[in-house]
């Protein structure tokens, strides 16, 4: 069975500071990994995805993530956060199931608060 762990339930950073949100996964096969963001009273929006190749992937709004097979990690980073980045961030794994990579496994989410 697969799982995703986001060890930090809450992260607070000052506006303009750099950010790293941690994600560890457990899966015996080839992981397909995503970061989604959820703003209050909204659905989940895709930030970025990793399927293969370059372990550093770029996403929207200046976010990037780095895949590490040796560490089973997929951490999210941003060089300079803005107050509008305050939201809940989910690390998500897509695992092979019946030959189709459709079933998503979600981490518990990290609530990011950006302070002025």
């Amino acid at each position: 069975a697969q799982s995703v762990t986001q060890p930090d339930a809450r992260v607070t950073v000052s506006e303009g500071a750099s950010l790293q949100l941690r994600c560890k996964y457990s899966y015996s096969g080839t992981p397909y990994l995503f970061w989604y963001v959820q703003y209050p009273r909204q659905g989940l929006q895709l930030l970025l995805k990793y399927y293969s190749g370059d372990p550093v992937v770029q996403g929207v709004n200046g976010f990037e993530a780095e895949f590490s097979k040796s560490n089973s990690s997929f951490h999210l980073r941003k060089a300079s956060v803005h107050w509008s980045d305050s939201a809940v961030y989910f690390c998500v794994l897509s695992a092979n199931s019946g030959g189709s990579n459709y079933k998503l496994t979600f981490g518990k989410g990290t609530l990011l608060t950006v302070t002025p």
Partner: protein, 114 residues
Amino acid sequence: NAGVIQTPRHKVTGKGQEATLWCEPISGHSAVFWYRQTIVQGLEFLTYFRNQAPIDDSGMPKERFSAQMPNQSHSTLKIQSTQPQDSAVYLCASSSAGGALEQYFGPGTRLTVL
């Protein structure tokens, strides 16, 4: 592109009543997914349709929950005899054909069972 549309956005039912939630996937998307989000359990997969056919309902509670996709433009999730523990945000997502893995989510329906 209007994105995934879910109606209603909020629904309040009394214990024992029926609730029907609607989802309109992105036009041209052939896969539809339902998830349930609660504070305690987080996001849980419920069921999946591809080309309107039910493919996987392994996350659906065995009793009282059912989902259908009568045509390519909408899917419904029905909960009979709702219970307080059914209170949650129900999210619908869709993805395109051809093995694309990204799922695009609607805003969700917040169900409150009194």
